[in-house]
């Protein structure tokens, strides 16, 4: 029997709080090499915080976090060298051009210059941004910025890719490309943690889905197992059941009633 490869990410009993708000409560999970894991949860559930802790941007208050066997936050510099991260907010240096921004990101990760230029050209071409490479980012549309962020996350060929709502603002073609890209990355042995509200995409591309509600894990299994266990038709049904969303029809009726008052 083949020995199981060591986990890429270990999250053990992690708790985190912002100034006056508990965000994560004793969260535990592991990510294995080559896995594509969907991180789901309602707004404010703690998905982005979880991802930021893995990137080393935030430090867990309680618990153990290890990425590639390195403890965080102590070894955050080494961890950052090997991760690609697409943040939820597309904040960029607006006065730089797309090409300049990608060069900056690649060089900060010490990518060899020839290789960097080749990768930038390929990525810009693939995302349909080749003709806008010399345009300043403040003139980019929301979708174009998102493509730049995704390209910047991949430039240094990271082993772990963290995607926080990567499809925001993308057109249909770009969304399909990103979905295929995730599958291709997993096939190439990369580990992908994918946070999204688009559940049918998670259902199609992820090997596993972790559902968080109020900072705690309420489900962690493959989408098909979750659907079967919950007796739901889709992952959306599972999500509603587990996160206590209530009856949407009743909520809609209540809104209409409030408007008529």
């Amino acid at each position: 029997m083949m020995p199981m490869p060591p986990p890429v990410v270990v999250f053990r009993d992690v708790s985190f709080r912002y100034a006056h708000q508990d965000v994560l409560h004793s969260l535990s999970f592991e990510l294995r090499p080559g896995e594509v894991v969907g991180l789901l949860g309602p707004n404010g559930a703690g998905k982005s915080t979880t991802i930021k802790i893995i990137t080393g941007i935030l430090a867990a208050h309680v618990g153990t976090v290890q990425v590639f066997g390195l403890s965080l936050p102590e070894r955050s510099l080494d961890v950052k060298q090997s991760i690609g991260y697409v943040p939820e907010a597309a904040l960029l240096f607006e006065s730089l051009t797309g090409q300049e921004f990608l060069e900056l990101c690649g060089r900060l990760h010490l990518v060899d210059e020839d290789r960097l230029q080749h990768r930038i050209a390929e990525l810009l071409e693939t995302f349909g941004l080749a003709s806008d490479r010399s345009t300043r980012l403040d003139a980019y549309s929301k979708g174009m910025r998102q493509k730049i962020l995704i390209a910047a996350a991949l430039l240094h060929d990271p082993a772990l890719i963290l995607l926080d709502e990567p499809l925001t603002g993308l057109d249909v073609n770009a969304s399909v490309l990103v979905k295929d890209l995730i599958a291709a990355l997993a096939a190439a042995g990369k580990t992908v943690l994918y946070s999204s509200h688009v559940l049918d995409v998670v259902e199609r591309v992820c090997d596993r889905a972790i559902i968080i509600d109020n900072g705690a894990i309420v489900a962690d299994d493959s989408p098909s197992n979750l659907i079967a266990a919950a007796g739901a038709a889709t992952l959306e049904g599972v999500f509603q059941k587990l996160t206590g969303a209530g009856a949407p029809a009743a909520a809609a009726a209540r809104i209409i009633h409030a408007l008529h008052r």
Partner: protein, 509 residues
């Protein structure tokens, strides 16, 4: 090979990045990010200091006194400039969100930032210290090496001030929760500007100060600054990234007590909406507060006035207290220039969808918020302070007169508001700022002379002047509001935009 945990390649990349952003004016109100502003400001300081040093050198003070005074002025000016620059440069959530997940050590980042800040020193240390260094040779007891010594000390002081500013922000980043960091940084900046009020008396004190204790204090100060500088190197980028979450929400939402009154008497729900929107965002909008803090230098005008507060203006003795009503008024005009700029200007689409009549009442609400927020509170404080020193009728009448002057300024400020509050990108340079300051200075000089020589000879004339000011403000307000409304429509790019003044016959209710 990293040196002191500074990665040379990444250091160069970051230093180049900051220089590039400098040239392209990526960040707002950052002297260091704007080469032209940097040179212009340095040149202005140079001219001002050159005039001052020539004047003082001709009065032949002892060389030590002369040197201390100019070193004190230079340190203070550098402190205010660098404090603001360091704040803008270090507490920058956008930069942190791009760089925080990159493999950059705190030391590398800090070194690149210090390099960036040193550029400002290269401009301002010579601008503030070269003129007094050269003019100092005119002094009788000045030796041939005086210019070199003066410039050398100024350079060391400049580096110390830069270190201190970085250390101060490092300590803030370490000990203040991220949600309160931006406010804390702005409070520190505001305190520095308020120091202008005390610059005059402090300079006089400096001339009698023995410099030796200062020299003894230098080594511990340097050590302390270097120690505090380490705070920047810990998890600084992560903390700044956390700023994005913003301040925690208050547990209870306070309802404005004045809001319903404004809705009832000043133009219905849109006026109330404008009042609550403007007064809340004036306190909360980060970009607006950054600009407003820079205006605090106007408070320098209050310095002499506050020192002469015991002198009653009705006593025929000239007192700088006459300047106070105009300083408050001038602040209103300057605020009017920056009011349209805001950090969340993209939300201005909201106003494009508002019914045309709503905008008419909305601008009225904006004026009320400015009047109640900027004119009334300082005048109430003034009344309280004056009651302590002056006879009650004198104090109350002066406060009433000051309120009248402030009201007139607030009406005069309305045409300067180019767009609804917080609906435009903050303007990097205000071309009208300088002419406004010059004209305001002339108006203030005439008004102060009129107050001293004509009005404050009798209680009745002051009361009459106050009433005239209120009446004139009331009469001119509709016209001023109409101009403000037309400008707001123009800048919102409304389909019904028109530069002609619309009749204010109906209110949106």
């Amino acid at each position: 090979m990293p040196f002191l945990d500074i990665h040379p390649a990444r250091y160069r990349l970051l230093a180049d990045l900051f220089r590039e952003l400098t040239e392209r004016r990526e960040l707002f109100t950052q002297l260091g990010n704007d080469g032209i502003a940097l040179r212009t400001a340095a040149l202005l300081y140079f001219i001002l200091i050159a005039l001052m040093s020539a004047l003082i050198a001709f009065s032949a003070p002892p060389v030590q006194v002369y040197s201390m005074v100019f070193q004190g002025i230079a340190v203070f000016m550098l402190f205010t400039i660098l404090l603001s620059e360091t704040g803008n440069s270090l507490v920058n959530p956008v930069e942190a969100s791009v760089l925080a997940h990159r493999p950059i050590s705190g030391a590398t980042y800090t070194a690149a930032k210090l390099t960036h800040l040193s550029r400002i020193l290269l401009f301002f240390v010579p601008a503030l210290s070269a003129p007094p260094a050269i003019a100092g040779l005119l002094l009788k007891d000045a030796r041939w090496f005086f210019p070199l010594a003066h410039l050398g000390i100024a350079a060391v002081a400049g580096v110390l001030v830069a270190l201190f500013c970085c250390a101060l922000y490092g300590a803030l980043l370490r000990f203040i929760p991220p949600a309160r960091l931006k406010s804390a940084a702005q409070t520190v900046e505001l305190f520095a500007w308020v120091g202008f009020v005390f610059l005059g008396p402090a300079t006089r004190r400096l001339s009698h100060l023995d410099p030796r204790p200062l020299l003894y204090a230098l080594p511990p100060l340097v050590l302390l600054s270097l120690f505090a500088l380490r705070f920047l190197s810990v998890d600084y980028l992560a903390r700044v990234t956390a700023i994005q979450r913003g301040a925690p929400l208050p547990k209870t939402t306070r309802r404005s007590l004045i809001g319903p009154l404004i809705a009832r008497y000043c133009g219905g729900p849109p006026a109330r909406a404008a009042f609550e929107y403007t007064s809340r965002l004036m306190r909360r909008d980060y970009q607006f507060r950054r600009q407003a803090i820079a205006l605090a230098s106007t408070l320098a005008l209050l310095g002499p006035a506050l020192h002469s507060i015991p002198t009653d203006p009705f006593s025929s003795v000239f007192t700088p207290i006459h300047l106070v009503p105009h300083t408050i008024g001038l602040l209103t005009i300057l605020l009017a220039l920056i009011l349209p700029g805001g950090g969340h200007h993209q939300a201005s689409w909201l106003f494009r969808l508002a019914p045309p009549a709503a905008l008419r009442s909305f601008v009225e609400g904006v004026w009320v918020s400015v009047w109640l927020g900027v004119i009334v509170p300082p005048n109430l404080l003034l009344a309280a302070a004056l009651l302590w020193f002056w006879p009650v009728p004198h104090a109350l009448l002066f406060a009433l007169f000051s309120l009248g002057v402030g009201t007139a300024y607030s009406v005069a400020a309305l045409p300067f508001i180019e767009g609804l509050p917080f609906t435009r990108q903050p303007i990097k340079r205000q071309p009208v700022m300088f002419p406004v300051l010059v004209v305001s200075g002339v108006v203030m000089a005439f008004a102060v002379a009129l107050q001293h020589f004509v009005l404050f000879r009798s209680l009745a004339s002051v009361a009459a002047a106050a009433l005239v000011l209120f009446a004139a403000s009331l009469a001119l307000r509709p016209k001023a509001l109409a101009v403000f409304e037309a400008s707001s429509r123009f800048h919102l790019d409304c389909p019904h935009a028109s530069l002609s003044v619309a009749p204010r016959s109906s209110h949106y209710v």
